[in-house]
C-alpha cells in the first residue's frame, strides 16, 4: 500500500474557519467632532462564543456596544447578524421601527447602571414581562410564568419577584436585567461592565450565573469590561482597544499570558 503523500491529506479546517460568524462588524468609524471614537474597527463573533472587549475609559468600548445594540449609527461601516430574515442586511440601514423589532427579539443587553435597563418603580417580574408583551404575548398567566422562569434561570430569589428593582441590592438588580435580557432567548447578549460596582463576593456569584447561562443556553455574548478578572473568567477570545482602535486580539489565555502590544503588556501588569 502506497503511503499517502502530504498533498492527498484532507485536513479538517479549524472550527472557527468552517463556521460563519454570528456577528460581523466591518470597518466602523465614528467621530464626535474632533474626537475619534472608533477607527476601522472589525468584530467577528461566532455562535456560542464569548468575546471580551477590554480597554481603558474612553477607548471606544461603550460606543462600540451602543452601535452593536443599534442605539447609534457609525459614520461608516457595516453590521451583519446571521439570523433568519436578517441575513445580507446591513443593520445600520434599518429604520427605527425595524431596529426595535430586532432588538426586542434578538439582542439582549445588561448595562452597568441598572437604571438604564430597568424601570425602577415597576415590579421586577413586570420588567421581564414587558419584553414578552412587546413581542406579542397577551396572556397574563403565561406572562407571569415566563417572567418567573426567566428570573429563576438568572438565580433571582423568586419570593421577591414582585419587588420593584429600586428596593433590591445591586447584584439582584443585575440579575433582573439579565432575566429581562434572556427572556426571549436572544441570539446575542451584550454585557456592558455587568459586575462593575458590585462587591467581590456578589461579583463572583453573578459571574457564576453568567458562565452557567452561557453553557446552558449557548448564547453568543460580548462582554465589555475593564476588569481583566471578569474577562478571564468569561471570555474565549479577547479584543484590546485603545483610542478607538483594536490594538490586539486573540484567545484569552494567549493575550493575557503573553501580551504582544505594549499597551496590553502594561494593562496585564498593572495589577495592584
Amino acid at each position: 500500500m502506497m503511503a499517502t503523500s502530504v498533498n492527498d491529506l484532507i485536513l479538517e479546517p479549524p472550527r472557527l474557519v468552517k463556521h460563519t460568524p454570528l456577528l460581523t462588524v466591518t470597518n466602523i468609524n465614528k467621530q464626535y467632532g474632533q474626537v475619534i471614537a472608533l477607527e476601522e474597527v472589525n468584530v467577528e463573533l461566532y455562535p456560542r462564543e464569548v468575546l471580551g472587549v477590554v480597554g481603558e475609559s474612553g477607548s471606544g468600548k461603550s460606543t462600540l456596544l451602543r452601535m452593536l445594540n443599534l442605539e447609534e449609527n457609525p459614520d461608516s461601516g457595516a453590521y451583519h447578524l446571521e439570523i433568519p430574515s436578517y441575513q445580507d442586511q446591513n443593520l445600520f440601514e434599518l429604520s427605527r421601527f425595524e431596529r426595535r423589532q430586532l432588538r426586542v427579539k434578538q439582542i439582549g443587553i445588561v448595562y452597568q447602571n441598572p437604571h438604564l435597563g430597568l424601570r425602577m418603580r415597576n415590579s421586577s417580574s413586570g420588567n421581564v414581562a414587558e419584553r414578552l408583551v412587546v413581542a406579542g404575548e397577551r396572556n397574563f398567566s403565561r406572562l407571569r410564568a415566563a417572567a418567573k422562569r426567566s428570573l429563576e434561570v438568572s438565580e433571582f430569589p423568586v419570593t421577591r419577584m414582585d419587588d420593584p428593582p429600586k428596593n433590591l441590592s445591586g447584584g439582584m438588580q443585575q440579575r433582573v436585567q439579565l432575566a429581562k435580557a434572556i427572556a426571549l432567548k436572544p441570539a446575542l447578549l451584550l454585557l456592558d461592565e455587568p459586575t462593575t460596582g458590585l462587591d467581590v463576593s456578589v461579583q463572583a456569584l453573578v459571574l457564576d450565573t453568567l458562565r452557567r447561562l452561557q453553557r446552558d443556553l449557548g448564547i453568543a455574548m460580548l462582554v465589555v469590561s475593564h476588569d481583566l478578572g471578569v474577562i478571564r473568567t468569561l471570555s474565549d477570545r479577547v479584543m484590546v482597544m485603545r483610542h478607538g482602535r483594536v490594538v490586539e486580539q486573540g484567545l484569552t489565555d494567549q493575550v493575557l499570558e503573553d501580551p504582544q502590544h505594549p499597551y496590553t503588556q502594561q494593562l496585564v501588569h498593572a495589577k495592584l
Partner: protein, 306 residues
C-alpha cells in the same frame, strides 16, 4: 392683489361665538382626526367665556359644528340639569340659535362630560366628549415628545406593563374611568373619563365621536363603525361595572349605569345616571334601543367576555 382682498371684511359679530377662521381651522383638524382614528391632532384652542377645565375643548367643537337647524344636548356626568351642563346649553342656544333638548335620540349634537347616553346613538349623530387628559401614556411616560414617539412606533409595552402591575398588586385591574382602548387596531386612546360601562359603546358605533381637550389643545375622533377594543389580557377579560341588584328608585329601571345616593340610615338608593333617559321613562316617551338590554347584555354579542 392686496391683502385686503384676501381677508374677510371686519365683522363685529360672528355666528356661534368663534370667528370663521377659527372654526375653519377646527373643522380641518376634525377631518384629520376622522381620517386617523384615535390619533391626537393638535389644534389652536381658542378662548371661550369659560375657564379651562370646564369643557372648553368640547364647547369649541360644538360651536364649530352647530348650525341653526341643529338640536343640541349637553350632558354633565349623565345629568342635563347640572350648572355646568345648563350653562353650556344656554350659551350654545344663545350664540347659535340652535334648538336644545334632553332627549338623546332627538339631538344631532351631544356634548358630554364623563358619560355616553344609554340609548344607542344613530348614524348622523355626533357625540362630543370633553377630555381633561388626552394622552393615555401620560401616567407611564412624562415627556410628551417621547410619548409621541411611542405612538408613532405603536410601542405600547408600557401600557400593558401598567395593567400587569395592577394584576400583580391588586389581583384585578383597578383602572376605573379613562380605560385605555385600542382604536382601529393602531392607536391607544384615552376615551376621556367615561366609566368602564360606557367604553364598549364606542365599538362599531353608528355615530361619530369627537374627543377634545381645550387645555391640552388636542382632539381625536372615533369615526362611525370603527373597532374600539379595551386593552385586556387573554385570560383576564375586560369587566364593566357591576350593576346587578341596583334598581333606580325613580323609574324602576335596572341594568343601567346608576348613581348611588347614600341615605342617613346607612343604606343606599340608586338612580339612573343618565337623567335624560330617566325623564323619558317617567314621561312615557317612546324609548330608543339601548346599548345594554334589560338583562344587562351588551348589544354586540361576544364583545364582552364573561
Amino acid at each position: 392683489m392686496r391683502l385686503s382682498e384676501l381677508t374677510k371684511p371686519v365683522q363685529d359679530h360672528a355666528y356661534a361665538f368663534l370667528d370663521e377662521a377659527s372654526k375653519r381651522e377646527l373643522r380641518r383638524k376634525i377631518l384629520k382626526g376622522i381620517c386617523i382614528p384615535g390619533y391626537q391632532v393638535p389644534y389652536a384652542s381658542r378662548e371661550v367665556p369659560m375657564a379651562r377645565g370646564w369643557g372648553t375643548g368640547g364647547l369649541q367643537v360644538t360651536l364649530t359644528l352647530v348650525a341653526p337647524h341643529s338640536t343640541v344636548k349637553v350632558i354633565d356626568q349623565g345629568a342635563d340639569d347640572s350648572v355646568n351642563a345648563a350653562n353650556i346649553r344656554r350659551f350654545i342656544a344663545r350664540v347659535a340659535a340652535a334648538k336644545t333638548t334632553t332627549d338623546a335620540c332627538e339631538a344631532t349634537l351631544i356634548q358630554s362630560r364623563h358619560r355616553i347616553p344609554e340609548e344607542r346613538l344613530l348614524e348622523g349623530q355626533v357625540l362630543i366628549l370633553q377630555v381633561p387628559e388626552p394622552e393615555p401614556l401620560r401616567g407611564v411616560e412624562t415627556s410628551s415628545a417621547a410619548a409621541a414617539e411611542l405612538h408613532a412606533d405603536a410601542d405600547y409595552g408600557m401600557m400593558w406593563l401598567k395593567l400587569y402591575e395592577q394584576m400583580v398588586r391588586y389581583k384585578r385591574i383597578i383602572q376605573g374611568a379613562s380605560y385605555p382602548v385600542l382604536v382601529g387596531n393602531r392607536y391607544i386612546m384615552s376615551p376621556s373619563p367615561i366609566p368602564r360601562w360606557d367604553v364598549p359603546m364606542l365599538h362599531q358605533a353608528a355615530h361619530l365621536t369627537i374627543l377634545s381637550a381645550g387645555r391640552e389643545k388636542r382632539l381625536y375622533c372615533v369615526p362611525p363603525y370603527t373597532e374600539v377594543r379595551p386593552l385586556e389580557f387573554d385570560d383576564v377579560p375586560y369587566q364593566i361595572e357591576n350593576v346587578d341588584g341596583m334598581v333606580c328608585f325613580r323609574t324602576g329601571a335596572t341594568h343601567k349605569f346608576m348613581n348611588e345616593l347614600p341615605q342617613e340610615d346607612g343604606s343606599s338608593l340608586f338612580e339612573l345616571s343618565d337623567s335624560g333617559y330617566g325623564e323619558k321613562i317617567l314621561t312615557e316617551t317612546p324609548l330608543g334601543e339601548t346599548y345594554y338590554d334589560s338583562e344587562g347584555r351588551f348589544y354586540h354579542d361576544g364583545y364582552l367576555r364573561q
